[in-house]
Subunit: 386 residues, 2 copies
């Protein structure tokens, strides 16, 4: 049989899986600790196996430290951070209920969209992307609107702004409202302080401050939130994200709900152990140190930060694109020539900011200096001089 | 400082991750190919990285062979098989629309529950768990009910029964209805024949016939289904599972929707390559061969299969529990003494069947004989003799 007659097996058209080694200096996914890759490669067991139940339980316990809670109910959604957002909205915002959204970036827009799809009455407090809210502003808004639920983004990935939660939670509780906080870009990287802040429902992801691949969404719920959940008479519109059923599978009864992503739970457990061994406070401090060094470095290059000093997220920096520079070209050059990933802005910030993460294993002084050197090189090659 | 005053770091309370090596002879998760574990341990890249876009594209192409389609639109949901089910329901069953469910097992009950939560009008054709439907029965039901959507479970994990799809699809199309088929326990293990059967929307999982860990849900949609999706004017109640947005991220524009679980996509690509290298038809035939050998073996032990011969799922066997035997004790003994996981029945089949999978790497004659030997031992120890 000649070569031409021999059909080529489909598999041969595909090269072996050999991903390039990127430095993930973007807003996430961030660099993964080598031990976490080791955990991913461990043999799976069943989703009701006593060993896996223990892994789930360990993960819940370890997450409490990262969230900063003693009283909360912890669980993990089998989907990415956006699945956590949808779980929060679908379970705590009943159709027809009023939700007040602090709207100062892309992820509050996503919250708005999800709440509308759940049939909620959404009211928004609009601010420019990158701005934050004072306690007085929050209180006035909540007093006027009398919502059942208040939602804000703790660390807004699209803008680099950190919203102090106390300003919002106290006013919401005075008005009898539950508070949902998007902690996708804060958990593991900067303090969430769930109990102290007074958050009722927080959701996050694995691929940013926790230095684990994407695929799961850790969630934390206050006793008040659990009371609401137990008292709710209509079922959530989502079965997959029904927190009553997931809580039941994840905790006491371990009654089957769905088949949890076993390998991802292994990875998350290992990522949380790596964090616990360093100590979460030490990790936050390391991130703060690198953040200061980074800001000093970019300002020395003549660049400006987008967010005022007191409202920045330590692990995610938004740097203004200098006049006349094409940010997409800078990013492409960094990726092609230095294997460095960073992100650009979008929405009102499209073309205006670089989004640069310094998370987990990358948050060291050496890595900050390495990044700044490559960043300067790419900027200069695209016509920037200072 | 004495040992007693030294607080123990939280991490030290947790032993290193060392999962037991189980033989996963249950209904899933099933045994994972070693190459797939290798893929999980590869370094991640960003979710918009050109390398990841290629991985997603490869996965879609490789899935088409497993689904048996040329024309369909293929994508992968970032959640488990139940997320795929909810995506199918939330996108193709509009609030108020009538859906006709062929209800002969647990997963058609789950479909019913999800459809109700989406505000659908659900009508059910009830049969005992383990039975299937003839073409005449299906046609009569659909003609009478005139639904917009018809849903059935191709391979019912709770009963071991395989439903021929042609019997349902032709009648549904004659009535102008779309057909949703649950292929969670068929894809990769037995033929789905998406195009030939006339399915419009199929969803599956990674952890059964594809021999990959759980965490993703492959989906296939016919051109008719895509037309419906594009013409739909109200958005789906779920943003996370909005198939228009996911299709957009997964295919042409690659516009950001959510951060895909990178490592799980690596794993799925590798699992599909392993299948492509064996050849999907060869794989199906290997499963059929082992199934015949398994049935011969259990019948030789004096045991009966729950489902009639022509309606069995080759990769998932339901074996009747013999009179007087406590099936939970048999399962516990298998797990504790032989590291073998199998499952019991639930709902109307609780205590009445064992659910035993022979999937992927476990589907060899040696493994069938190994399993039968251990199974006999456990049964005998629990008082069974034949």
């Amino acid at each position: 049989m000649s070569a031409i007659e021999q059909p080529q097996p489909a598999a041969l058209q595909f090269p072996a899986l050999e991903p390039p080694r990127r430095y993930l200096f973007g807003p996430g996914p961030s660099m993964v600790h080598p031990r976490v890759y080791g955990a991913l490669a461990k043999p799976i067991v069943g989703h009701l196996d006593p060993y896996f139940i223990q892994v789930m339980t360990d993960v819940q316990q370890l997450l409490k430290t990262a969230f900063g809670t003693n009283d909360g109910a912890t669980l993990v959604i089998s989907g990415t951070g956006s699945a956590g957002m949808e779980a929060a909205v679908a379970n705590f915002v009943e159709p027809g209920a009023k939700i007040a959204v602090f709207a100062n970036g892309y992820f509050s827009d996503r919250l708005t969209e999800m709440a509308k799809r759940q049939g909620a009455n959404v009211v928004r407090f609009e601010k420019a992307w990158g701005e934050t809210y004072t306690e007085d502003e929050a209180r006035e808004f909540i007093r006027r609107e009398k919502p059942k639920v208040v939602a804000y983004v703790h660390a807004e990935t699209s803008t680099g702004a950190l919203q102090a939660g106390q300003a919002i939670c106290a006013a919401a509780h005075d008005a009898g409202a539950l508070v949902i906080a998007d902690c996708v870009t804060s958990l593991g990287g900067v303090p969430v302080a769930f109990d102290q802040t007074g958050i009722d429902v927080a959701y996050s992801c694995t691929q940013k401050g926790l230095s684990c691949p994407p695929g799961l969404s850790p969630m934390e719920m206050s006793p008040r939130a659990m009371d609401f959940l137990r008292a709710r008479t209509s079922p959530s519109r989502s079965w997959y994200l029904d927190l009553k059923l997931i809580h039941d599978y994840s905790t006491v009864s371990h009654r089957y709900h769905h088949t949890a992503p076993i390998s991802m739970f292994y990875a998350l457990r290992e990522a949380l152990l790596v964090i616990a061994e360093e100590g979460i406070e030490n990790r936050w401090e390391r991130h703060r140190r690198c953040h200061r060094s980074f800001v000093k470095g970019v300002e020395a290059l003549g660049l400006r930060m987008h967010v005022p000093e007191d409202h920045r997220i330590a692990i995610l920096n938004t740097v203004c694109v200098p006049e006349g520079i094409d940010e997409a070209k800078v990013r492409k050059r960094l990726l092609d020539e230095s294997d460095i990933e960073i992100a650009g802005g979008f929405g009102p910030l499209a073309g205006k900011v670089f989004r640069i993460g310094m998370m987990g294993p990358l948050a060291t002084e050496d890595n900050v200096q390495f990044f700044l050197k490559e960043f300067k090189k790419a900027l200069n090659a695209e016509g920037y001089s200072n």
